[in-house]
């Protein structure tokens, strides 16, 4: 390689390395803020590295798995509450896991299931009997990366019915929004 090309190679190479280093440092510094949501254990015990903990009344997003058997739906309205626990592999639900209760009023997304990943957006509050809770204004379903046909899923014992709503429940929504 002739000296001019060598020089250009060195310049371009050092620009690339410099930008890579800058981006790496910025992302490292911001890593806590880039996370979309807090997990239930981060809300109860604080983030692992910094110990940062959201305060009561703060507007946050929470992400976790819906604990089976904790979904309570009001038969008269669209009010629903459920508990979230951390998304850890393999999925086992223990009563000792840190859990946060979510209260929500509205239609749940199609993918909402017990055991499904959920991201909820709302304010952190404390309800004495259940501990920390989120009063959610939005519930989003987080899909996992697994895809399978229905027959396979049934063979594996996966439940896959989506929530249905009665006339009465939907009426209450109309009454509230108008």
């Amino acid at each position: 390689m002739n000296p001019r090309r060598k020089k250009r190679l060195a310049i371009v190479g050092s620009i690339l390395i410099g930008i890579g280093a800058v981006a790496g440092l910025v992302l490292y510094a911001l890593s806590q803020n880039i996370d979309l949501f807090f997990t239930p254990s981060e809300i109860t015990q604080g983030k692992k590295e910094t110990g940062l903990k959201p305060s009561l009344g703060q507007r946050i997003r929470i992400g976790g798995l819906v604990v089976p058997g904790t979904v309570k739906r009001d038969p008269e309205s669209l009010k629903v509450s459920f508990k979230l626990s951390d998304m850890t592999m393999p999925i086992v639900f223990k009563d000792s896991d840190p859990m946060v209760t979510v209260y929500y009023e509205g239609i749940l997304p199609d993918l909402f299931r017990e055991g499904q990943g959920i991201v909820a957006n709302g304010t952190l509050a404390e309800h004495p009997p259940t501990g920390l809770s989120i009063e959610a204004s939005e519930v989003l379903a987080k899909h996992d990366e697994n895809y399978m046909p229905a027959e396979l899923a049934e063979a594996a014992g996966q439940k896959h019915d989506k929530a249905t709503y009665s006339e009465k429940q939907l009426e209450s929504k109309k009454a509230n929004s108008y």
Binding site: A23, S31, L36, L111
Partner: protein, 247 residues
């Protein structure tokens, strides 16, 4: 070692190479895309949770990974143009940018269309979606710079520097779902070991992916050919070609 590449630095040789490649690329993309899309959209089994909505996967995932793949090849072209000052590398980078931008847009739009029924929202500012949007802006910036200067060499240099700066974004897009918690799910197909998909859903995906890759190669080849002709329009061999075409 690079001896066999040297003839292709000549625009005329490269032009004839694209002419030879075009029929093959069109044939392969037509075959793979028609098999893959028909299989994926009509015969692949529906997902147990998402039903038929999951079929958008067969367009969304190839578009998204190709949007990153095109960027990497554009960056390699920009790098060789900056270091070895190959004019043709600039022409190929200029040919690739709009194709990459289109595929990024397809990935974003199909993702939003899937996100509304499945997640419950069209858009969320999580790390994956935001970094992919930045990729679209990088492409638009590169296209703008290629067209901002009368002098094509200067334009190529400016666009090349932006392209190389933007390369940082590619690993961020790829690993965003692992480094941070996001609403977007992790990758299904490119996981080492076994993909998280049953085989009768995976095979049509492989056909679609190969088909879209050939389609991208075909479009880039056509655009590259046009770039070569436009940039060499005063050369005698191009005039010769036009004369032959008109007579």
């Amino acid at each position: 070692m690079w001896k066999w590449l040297h003839p292709y630095a000549n625009p005329e040789v490269s032009y004839h190479l694209t002419n030879r490649l075009l029929p093959w690329l069109s044939a392969f993309s037509a075959i793979f895309l028609s098999i893959g899309l028909v299989w994926a959209l009509l015969f692949a089994p529906a997902d147990y949770q998402q039903g038929h909505s999951f079929r958008i996967f067969y367009i969304h995932v190839p578009a998204a990974s190709l949007s990153m793949g095109i960027y990497v090849s554009m960056a390699i072209a920009a790098f060789s143009s900056l270091v070895w000052q190959l004019k043709l590398a600039d022409a190929s980078a200029a040919a690739m940018a709009p194709v990459g931008a289109a595929f990024t847009a397809i990935a974003l739009i199909t993702g939003a269309a899937w996100g509304k029924p499945m997640w419950g929202t069209w858009w969320i500012w999580d790390a994956r979606l935001t970094s992919e949007l930045i990729l679209l802006f990088l492409y638009l910036g590169v296209i703008a710079l290629h067209n901002a200067f009368e002098d094509k060499n200067l334009a190529g240099k400016a666009a090349g520097i932006l392209t190389l700066v933007g390369v940082v974004n590619i690993p961020i897009i790829k690993y965003s779902v692992e480094w941070w918690n996001t609403l977007h799910q992790g990758s299904t197909v490119s996981k080492l070991g076994k993909p998280s998909m049953s085989l009768d859903m995976l095979w049509p995906f492989i056909f679609c992916f190969i088909g879209f890759s050939f389609l991208v190669a075909l479009i880039i080849c056509l655009r590259f050919r046009n770039e070569i002709l436009a940039r060499n329009s005063i050369r005698p061999w191009v005039r010769e070609l036009v004369k032959k075409h008109n007579s």
